[in-house]
Symmetry: C2
């Protein structure tokens, strides 16, 4: 193993746009990149994790035809590796063994090819490096599909360390790991700690790591510390593109980068852009380049991720025309503005659908929004249709065929609210969007999604819910950011920011009288966030604990005063239980039938927030706290 301590090596990070489930297409992209790299004198070309098959592909891992094709694609890359070291991700197969589900043995693997040969680590059984740490939390399901180095050591009866060795190429010794292998804080074993004590030139981490806001700061701290521990350069190559788990759509920002042996991030690829980063890396441990100052800016990142993810999802679905139900409120305004960033003026259609409960003010705001965005606009009143439904069903008498058990059905006020919401989405938007040649959007935000403050087959309908991972306050912030920065002019009318949030489905929700939704923003944003987003999710027990201790505002990060909203403890508890019941009750039922959600944060609804329909649970301790606070009458 001739390690050239006094030379540099030309390294290229291929921040590749991986198309999930399309091994042949990805391989074509990679083969071109290999040829170019060789021409450019690159010695080491690195692709991301699972660059051939894609990563979030669900149970497609169970199709042997797919696995065989992935394997053949990997062989094509191997055969193209004359005079260059190519590192890439693929499924590693052992057709003679099986996984613990009885299916063929699969590894999430890092392949190293050079001169038409694959090289594995040290004296291991495979000509690839299996992933050691398999994430099995949040949206990750690695251990559902893959065997890992730890199981392999157990099966072979050898110490794990004996399988964690560098890969020796002709001129280079590479410590290769995959994604989670570097995020080792909570694991009993650390692959990089084992490798750190061995002799190698460069460390490579290939990843397929979804974007979430502010994640790169954490990643930078983790990888910087790893590079420092390794005392050698560390190369991080991540995917761009989108991949999904059905209910939840993830963007991948790439942000591939290089760390020197002191832990400085010295090169960084732009986020969300496929492309290559090439650098002559000194192998003698010398410093190279200048450390990069990583800046995080939540709303700008969210703006970028939403536009990117929405555009890519549309491309994937073959959609290029979008209909947005525009109510005059902030949610639909932000959604419309996002689409106008992606589509031309004649590809975005805003439809305002007033009933007798809609204010002239919100109708005017919707129209103004369309004017500002220079997109298509139509007003489609729903009053006639709703009246027909009320006439037909409002006094329907049902009985058995012989006339027994006659009963008159009656549509209550709240039923009529839902009739309107369904009329808008399932009748008007569904038909109009088809006739317009595209799809319609779901404009629900995360607060509404949490408590199911939406109508099933009504405003919860749509092909994609692209702001459903944003709390109401974040929707406002994004709207302001788009006006100030993305568009640089107030395309979203000021009135959308100031009008009372309201569904406008009854006279009790009359915005002209300042009446609207029962949600108290931003208090409920803060409350719901604590149920949904923290690593340890809170329940009414913790909330009541904090309320009693007088620390609720501080614990929730709420700038206002809870006492300003609820004059008595009884009112506070009633509100708490009202929304908790909805979050855990109808909210779950509605989320099961909700559109896919574009994730931009930790714990988006769907695959990162797995739910069972069980109804609302209150702990015994909550009941005791409540009794102590309100007395037996509660």
């Amino acid at each position: 193993m001739s390690v050239k301590r006094n030379s540099t090596i030309r390294v290229r990070l291929a921040q590749m746009d991986v198309v999930p489930g399309r091994p042949a297409d990805n391989t074509e992209t990679m083969l071109k990149a290999v040829a170019e790299a060789r021409r450019d004198g690159v010695a080491l070309l690195v692709f991301p994790e699972m660059s051939i098959p894609g990563y979030l592909i669900g149970d497609a891992w169970e199709r042997e035809a797919f696995l065989r094709e992935c394997e053949a694609c990997g062989q094509a890359i191997r055969e193209a590796s004359d005079r260059i070291v190519v590192v890439f991700g693929n499924v590693g197969l052992d057709w003679d063994k099986h996984n613990e589900d009885g299916r063929v043995r699969k590894y999430n693997a890092c392949f190293v090819a050079e001169d038409r040969r694959f090289m594995g680590p040290g004296n291991g059984p495979y000509a690839f490096v299996p992933k050691t740490l398999l994430p099995n939390y949040r949206e990750f399901d690695d251990s559902r599909y893959f065997y890992d180095t730890r199981r392999l050591a157990e099966e072979r009866g050898v110490p794990l360390g004996s399988l964690l060795k560098p890969v020796e190429t002709r001129n280079l010794s590479l410590a290769c790991v995959l994604c989670e292998d570097a995020w080792d804080a909570d694991y009993a074993v650390s692959p990089l700690a084992v490798l750190a004590d061995q002799s190698f030139d460069l460390a490579v981490n290939i990843s397929c790591s979804p974007f979430t806001v502010n994640k790169n700061g954490k990643r930078n701290r983790v990888f910087s510390a790893q590079a420092e521990r390794l005392r050698r350069p560390l190369i991080y190559v991540n995917t761009v593109g989108i991949q999904n788990n059905g209910k939840t759509v993830y963007t991948f920002d790439g942000s591939s980068c290089i760390y020197d042996g002191l832990g400085h991030q010295v090169r960084l690829q732009p986020a969300f852009e496929p492309g290559c980063l090439t650098l002559d890396v000194p192998l003698n441990g010398a410093l190279f380049g200048d450390p990069i100052d990583l800046r995080e800016d939540g709303v700008a990142e969210i703006d970028q991720a939403l536009v990117y993810g929405t555009r890519r999802f549309m491309e994937q679905c073959g959609v290029n025309r979008v209909t947005v139900g525009a109510s005059g409120g902030i949610d639909s305004a932000v959604v419309a503005a996002l689409y106008r960033r992606i589509l031309g003026p004649d590809q975005v259609l805003l439809v305002n659908m007033p009933s007798r409960f809609n204010s002239g003010a919100t109708i005017a705001l919707a129209r103004q929004l369309a004017e500002n965005l220079e997109c298509l606009y139509a007003e489609v009143p729903i009053e006639d249709s709703v009246r027909l439904t009320v006439r037909q069903l409002g006094d329907l008498i049902v009985s058995d065929v012989a006339g027994r058990w006659p009963q008159r059905l009656c549509l209550s006020e709240s039923m009529l609210e839902n009739v309107q919401a369904r009329d808008r989405s399932s009748r008007v938007l569904a038909a109009v969007s088809c006739a317009f040649g595209g799809v319609f959007t779901c404009n629900a935000n995360k607060a509404e999604a949490t408590v199911g403050y939406t109508t099933l087959y009504g405003d919860l309908g749509g092909y994609l819910a692209n702001i459903a991972d944003l709390w109401k306050g974040e929707v406002y912030a994004l709207g302001r950011y788009m006006n100030d920065t993305s568009f640089g002019r107030p395309v979203i009318p000021g009135g959308c920011f100031t009008v009372t949030p309201s569904a406008e489905l009854s006279s009790a929700q009359n915005v002209d009288e300042g009446k609207g939704d029962p949600l108290i923003y931003p208090y409920h944003d803060c409350l719901f966030r604590h149920w949904v987003e923290p690593w340890q999710r809170s329940t009414p027990e913790e909330i009541l604990d904090w309320y009693v201790a007088g620390t609720l505002e501080r614990n929730l990060g709420y700038a206002g005063q809870v006492a300003g909203h609820f004059s008595t403890a009884r009112a506070f508890v009633a509100d708490l239980e009202r929304w908790w019941n909805l979050y855990q009750g109808l909210g779950v039922a509605k989320r099961i039938q909700a559109p896919p959600i574009l994730a931009v944060k930790r714990r988006a609804f769907g695959f990162d927030h797995r739910e069972s329909q069980m109804g609302a649970w209150y702990s015994r301790r909550y009941q005791e706290l409540k009794l102590a606070l309100l007395g037996a009458a509660s």
Copy 2:
């Protein structure tokens, strides 16, 4: 450890109805059972796996308030264990350690309590038995939430075998394992093989094992072999009730039983019934009881599971009135008949919603069905509403506010089909079912669900899809079974079995002319089943391979002749690709927004068939096969 080889021990299997997410309620049930058992002289009382918290509860495992309550409930059982050995399932907590996701350390654990003490296995670190084999396939997510004995051995640097020991009570030595621990065929380690070589009196397997049709035959073979290997009695205690993973609802049949040391199943609890089985089990290895002949009968099991699961799901949702859109076809007829088994005549409302495309024959069948079922019936025509929509939207001209980019929208034939389907569900059924005081059903079958032959917000709507795990042929079989056996009279009219399956949404689907759905039953049933249900799912590559080899019918288990449906290879391939594109394309999008599905078989859609929206994939080899078959013109 005084093992009384010449005595018997009174054992009680508590086949308990576990309510998921309700530890206090389950504990109350258990405390009553403990008191009764002591009174009845029972020495060993065994509850199922996770009998305190429930099992399929999603990410509720992330709530520490919930974990604390589960722990307190376990202590309450311990304190009630005077003069009796109580075995039960609960989450085992180690608050000083963490899981690999950074959250508090959790085990899926078997607890053994006696005289107010918990006893763990041998010299292990815990006073409970952790599960060793964590299933992480199909609907199971154990390794998402729990640490296991294998990781524990790795962490402690000890051989796994040192942690797999019997639990010693005052008079009894128990080999305790949990569910999957006995299903060890595909694992590198076998807990029962390790235990078999040690000294103990009885083996206990506590389970929370969902029902699927014909599963008990497999379970019987597995457990019989385990008992034979152990050469000692084996007690299997399983839960009854329902639990769900959001999209997929599972029934639990219990079927708890006892095996003697020769592997004979000698006692079996009735399926789907909570209750206790008590037996004096000889500890000297003597035979006891007579072996039971387990009979499997698919359609009877499915009938039982669907009625049970539907009834329990309704109870859980607090629903006691159901509206069924009754088309006159077999699917809605079977659904209506299932509900009539559960609800009274005035709690089931059939609604027929004809448009101008509906045949008098199917309307009469719907009415006849209601008459036979003696339930409520209403006819709600949708013609006026559809006409209003066509009038309002059919010629809508949209433009921007300044009048630019004007375009006339046009509702095509197929759009009009969907307008009708949505009008029925989102307008009529949604409102009528609310006014009637309940919910409406989704009547889609598995063939329709596979290829998305349903309208979103139309016939795919509903609170539960209870026959969506049945292929069309199975729906017919269930209908016949209900007529012949469950009702013992032809409540489902003969015409429902003979009418051409049709959505009746256009003149091209006129059943009076024998026209209807484009699906060819049972060929497409057989084809789709091979894409969805086998352990190794097939793709068009395998299908075309079989077609070329002339083995398609045999491989699909199709009794007919494929050549009878497709006169040319080109027609066969066009049909194959049409449905594969839908299965992998729009079908996925629709399933994401589909109602919960009641699972009765392996690989129900939802949590047991995880999907990504990626569009249809065809392998290179498929393309080559197709080229060879059809020539370059394809």
